[in-house]
Amino acid sequence: MSSHSAESVDPGKVSLWDYEHHGHDPISTRTLGFWLYMLSDAMIFAALFAAYGVYVRNAAGGPTEADIIHPIYAMWESVVVFTSVFAYGLGMAALKKGNRAGVINGLLAAFALGLVFLGMEYKEFADLIADGAVPQRSGFLSAYWTIVLTHGLHMIFGLLWMLVMLFQVMREGFTQNVVYRLINLRLFWHFQAIIWVCVFTFVYLKGVL
């Protein structure tokens, strides 16, 4: 095998320096980085799901899956999450048209639905505490709380981020920075919905099988 690439250019005629080179498309560079970040975030959930698969049998005489999981309630939570993502999507459609009011309305609706989701989750866990199904009770409950609340924590960060973006869209309009952040936030928000699908399937649906 040759270690040298074939010589295809005439050294007498080449140009050595590129004077027009003005860096790269900043928005796509930023979104690429965010995709990479989400890959690492996906690994976090992958590890948690793998662990959950092991711990789900370790109820240590305490409440089991069947005792604490309510898939119908979780279904309504899913509906809320997906509507929130849909609202965000409408906002992004407005962004394509440069419609500031549309973006703000989309963000507000997504934010409100996100809050509803967190409220529902709050009630779910308050009930668990009332039943004594606290994470300190067993390995299974530790894993259950951790996986669902890690997703919940991501939702909280998403909501905070939406607040910041609402402010920035109102104040600065669609500058390059604002636009790439809106795109990244969309990735983030969709990603949370996808994770929720996994939680719903592997934790809630599987729990009642």
Binding site: P11, S15, L36, L160, Q168
Partner: protein, 704 residues
Amino acid sequence: MLVDLQGPWNPLFGRLGLLLEVHYNNPVLFFAFELSVVVGVILLFWATCARKWGYIWREWLTTVDHKKIGVMYIVVGLVMMFRGFFDALMIRSQQAIAVGPDSPGVLGAAHGYLPPYHFDQVFTAHGMIMILVAATPILVGMMNIIVPLQIGARDMAYPYLNALGLWLTVVSAALVMIALFIGDFSHAGWVGLAPLTELPYSPGVGVDYWIWSIQIGSVGTTMGAINLIATIIKMRAPGMTWGRIPVFTWTSMASNIIALTSFPVLGVTLALLTFDRYLGTHFFTVGLGGDLMMYTNLFWIWGHPEVYFVVLPAFGMLSEIIPTFSEKPLFGYVTMVIASMAIAAVSWSVWLHHFFTMGAGPNVNAYFSIATMLVGIPTGVKVFNWAFTMYRSRMRFDTPMLWAIGSVFLLISGGMTGMMLAVPAINYIVHNSVFVIAHFHNMFLLIVYAAFGAVTYWFPKVFGFTLDERWGKRFFWFFTAGTLMVFIPMYTLGFMGMTRRLDYVSHTAWWPLLNAEMVGIGLYAISIACFVMQLAVSIRDREKNAVGADAWGTSRTLEWATHSPVPYYNFAVTPIIHDRDEWAWRRKHGLTSLKPDRYVDIHMPKNTAVPLVLGVLSLAFGFAMVWRIWWLAAISAIAMLLVIIYRSFDKDTDYIIPASDVERMEKEMLARAERVEGNAPAPGGAAGGAYASPQAPSKRHQGD
């Protein structure tokens, strides 16, 4: 409180009351303390007297320049390696003294001078420091400096994130150092053996220091990985196709893919352990549904890829150094790239070989044994490629080449013993013996050799002058003698049945070999002195040793196609790439002039103090979490969030260097290059014409 804490706790000071129980009269601790204070005071004094604070603030603390960040990474790594060496010295001297029932004991130890509790902290700190805050930062620093230069980028994809990654790594190192003086460090081994790390078994703050130091540092490493991958994908100069990317950049890519995917798993593992210790959950406890093996599995799912994360950049360094000093292109570029990616892929599926003996059963063991051995294939490909590069070449034995060749030898011997360990039947015999220790030191030392070679090789690129060869060679030979004297006896002791982590050696027949290792440690100490001398002499002679762009005269890749030291904008004008070994190609065709036809404006990121501020806040956060000072933890976490949000409102983050300024700076650098060009070591017998000397004036018309 959710968990039963032993000892005092109060809302204002957390667990700091425990400090009253620490024994500060220990002279070993005292020595470390005095050394740190004296060095610190000298540095502060020097900076103040020489009025360097403004300079340090502007040029280093707030910089977003990838080369300076890289240099700081490497400095942190070297300093921590020195600290890790001290720990090694203590382990070795303890084991050399505490042999046999009649061995004396001092300082409260029954034998030797380190009581078991202290000894355990020493080897835990040694392992954790050497891997996570010595080797990793040195390699990450090297990637930071070299990768953008090799692909013709002006900067990295996210300079601000890059600085943040650095400061988080510094916080990780700082927490380990603080643990030396305020409280104690984990005694559960650098792998954090479960359930020894659970609160009831380790009621102090040592394990918490270990957790938060690794946790914060690994966030930094993940950010660095995102940055490097995006840089390689997005920031390449025109013509730098995937098939032309230099091998060091390729291995950095492979390495950072590993980091990006494996460090989150470590984060999860440590977080679950944190929940156990802080909230009383039951992930890795012995009862109530906890699962110890889950910890071991999760830890090594990160731990094994991590060793490839550090070894791959080392392979990349060898692939740059060996061709330069063989004066020949690298043999088998394509196979080298494929091998790197294959190693990255397979490294993921072998974690269980770290616990063959824990009862997984023959089928599982067989699977992991075979998977482990598969890694040997691409590694072997690499060794053959380097060998074929050197075969029938004009080899030159400059210091970087010595380190590189030493590294290849270590790779061969370490690889062989690794193959032995990958056989479960053998593993059952040598598991937890010092044979294993000798094996993985063999592997880590290969990385250290490659890194020292790379530091010497790229030093002139970053600083504009070469390191002293005479002291460099002394450094190399003493270090190598030390390596042989420590690790050959250690392999032997492993076969003789000596287990690892012994604070007291009951078997007196091991004593002669333990003493031989002591001699080896002495040789290491001399080599460190040589290294310090090498730095001092080189800095003294920096005018004499100044070099132009191509410091070695036979280097091949793009980083040599700009000035040494590299200006902060890297390339005055973005280079266009025509060949896999662009600089060798340009040299061959007499196109080595760095003077373009004209200059253009350059767009650069502005310095910022935000990463440093976030670093300070995360140090406060880590410290507060270790000591369970909840108010401080909450305040610093909220402050971090606010700073990040505040920064997102900052629109004034870049600036333009006008073409006229570029021209002025370039003129100075070209004049300097003219002055020093003759200093470059002459490429040995470059008679054939294929390797025109770097001085050859470029007569060709350039540009369009």
